[in-house]
Symmetry: C2
Subunit: 334 residues, 2 copies
């Protein structure tokens, strides 16, 4: 099967390569007849054009890299998917780059910059820490989705996120209001200024508001995988069976925690209430259904793309958008 080039098409249509190129790019300055003729030949040959050649020429092309850190994270995957749907008219302007949670998204960005000459960057599920220094002298439009860059070293980048601190406070506040005092928190590192650190702060706020002291040793450090959260919970609840509620900073972690409780013969929610964060789909189908903070995936996606477009097209300054999330109490909390 032959792969045709623009030259083949030109020849078969009896026009020049320039004309074919123009048709390919939807330029207006081609006569209707010529256009029709060329299109016909292109269709017959399944011609699509070589992306490499095109990209080589149009180095200034508006291609946007979407870097998703953590492919096995259903929340981020859903968010990324939603973003790709914002891709205006299949212009293939958004190219996803899935990387491992262990990988360095900033190095990846730098790499992409050189490798693909991207003109804009969206980070999905990034942490903001010192690693970001490698982007110090990169002044491309960038936006961070799900984490605020306000008051961080990346402030010149835009961001779209929920108010992590407020929402964590609201969720834990509700737990406290329902009479839970011995609340375990399954979270990540509290240093830095990313969403996890903010959520930890929100937890503190909630305890402060309620006038209940937070016992430090109820903060359980864990990675947000089923396995890790499961192990962490198994370990924790054996030590502290007096706990009546768990606030987990991700739904995936919450699912692992729920299973651990079950294996310890503790019932959810009768013995221990469990909350997650994110609002992934499976949480609506587990038994019991998982209570959580539902992030507005579609809106975060839409706004992220919007903000970046503005920066690229109109040189708008970096905005920091806060979207509204929702504490949703389902069956896993009493």
């Amino acid at each position: 099967m032959k792969i045709y080039t623009i030259r083949d098409i030109a020849q078969q249509a009896g026009v020049s390569v320039t004309t074919v190129s123009r048709v390919l790019n939807g330029r207006p300055d081609v006569s209707k007849e010529t256009q029709a003729k060329v299109r016909k030949v292109m269709a017959e040959c399944h011609f699509v054009g070589n992306a490499n050649a095109r990209g080589l020429k149009q180095a200034d092309q508006a291609i946007i890299a979407v870097i998703i850190r953590g492919r096995n994270n259903p929340f981020l995957a859903a968010l990324a998917e939603e973003m790709l749907l914002c891709d205006p008219a299949g212009k293939a302007a958004l190219v996803p780059e899935y990387i491992d949670e262990q990988d360095d998204e900033f190095l990846c960005a730098l790499n992409l910059l050189h490798r693909r000459r991207v003109a804009g960057l969206i980070f999905v599920g990034s942490r903001i820490d010192s690693r970001c220094e490698v982007l110090a002298d990169v002044n491309l439009p960038m936006v961070f989705a799900t984490v605020s860059t306000l008051n961080t070293p990346m402030e010149r980048a835009a961001s779209v996120s929920m108010d992590d601190r407020k929402m964590a406070c609201a969720a834990v506040g509700e737990l406290l209001r329902r009479g839970h005092e011995h609340i375990a928190v399954f979270g990540g590192s509290r240093s830095g200024q990313d969403s996890l650190a903010l959520r930890a702060l929100g937890v503190q706020d909630a305890f402060l508001n309620a006038g209940v002291p937070f016992e430090e040793d109820r903060y359980v450090l864990t990675r947000f995988t089923l396995q890790d959260a499961y192990s962490a919970a198994l370990n924790y609840f054996q030590r502290r069976p007096d706990t009546t509620a768990a606030f987990c900073m991700s739904d995936t972690a919450a699912l692992g925690v729920m299973r651990a409780l079950c294996d310890l013969n503790m019932r959810v929610p009768e013995d221990v209430s469990v909350m997650g964060v994110d609002g992934i789909e499976i949480g609506r189908y587990t038994t019991p259904r998982l209570s959580t903070i539902v992030q507005p995936v579609k809106e975060i996606a839409r706004q992220s793309v919007q903000v970046l477009s503005d920066m690229m097209k109109n040189h708008s300054p970096a905005r920091h958008v806060t979207v509204e999330a929702q504490v949703e109490m389902r069956e896993s909390v009493l």
Copy 2:
């Protein structure tokens, strides 16, 4: 921030572009000193090389497209991820292309062929049906993962899969052996020759072997999403509460079915046993843990890449590899 070209590097290192190119591609024919010098400059500039230019030149390059149909399918996602790990030494030879379950993977392949000049194709989670005709005169090495192309129109393509028919038979056979006679089957279209059709055949085999008649109206047609399976199950079990077991042709569907049963006040497994297929991770953490047919993800991934490599390098004929899967009875079956 400047983006350097191979020429800039050459200049700064005081060598020719060819030499830089050679270093970039890890050719052996460059002296240690020159190499070190060039590498140093490259590192300083974060030089990575322009993928477009490279791809343009090496049209014959061994770049393999991995087409994953159904991003929200955790099983396929895990499989694809595993494949990418087979990528020999980060040669970036495997490029993933995630498409929607509704999209046409064959059209996508054709497109990729032109757009990126791929030299090989791996289909992950494809159905084999008449749409595949568009690839009729494409004779690139191709392999289908998780579905056998034996006795199908795509026979000239290689395939790596479990014996769907045998495994479905084994799973349902075990259900029958445990005394279940009224077994519902949540599956897909039975026309065609893809894995779903084969599994349906396997179900028939099991009933035949057991001498139990299979009641046609217990075959429930559903898409394999949580929502669809949930609705289908809700609907089905209200009509047929006499059912004591459900065989679902995907774990995701099984999870939806389990939740539906719960909402109908039927207990799993006490009232109804539930089985899935695939062996996705979350199935080990649900309550009850999901019984399933565990597909050997790593092996399917490894073999798929292997078989394709063989075809590309040694022009080996298309092989049809069958991998061993495992019926794993966990808590959801009595």
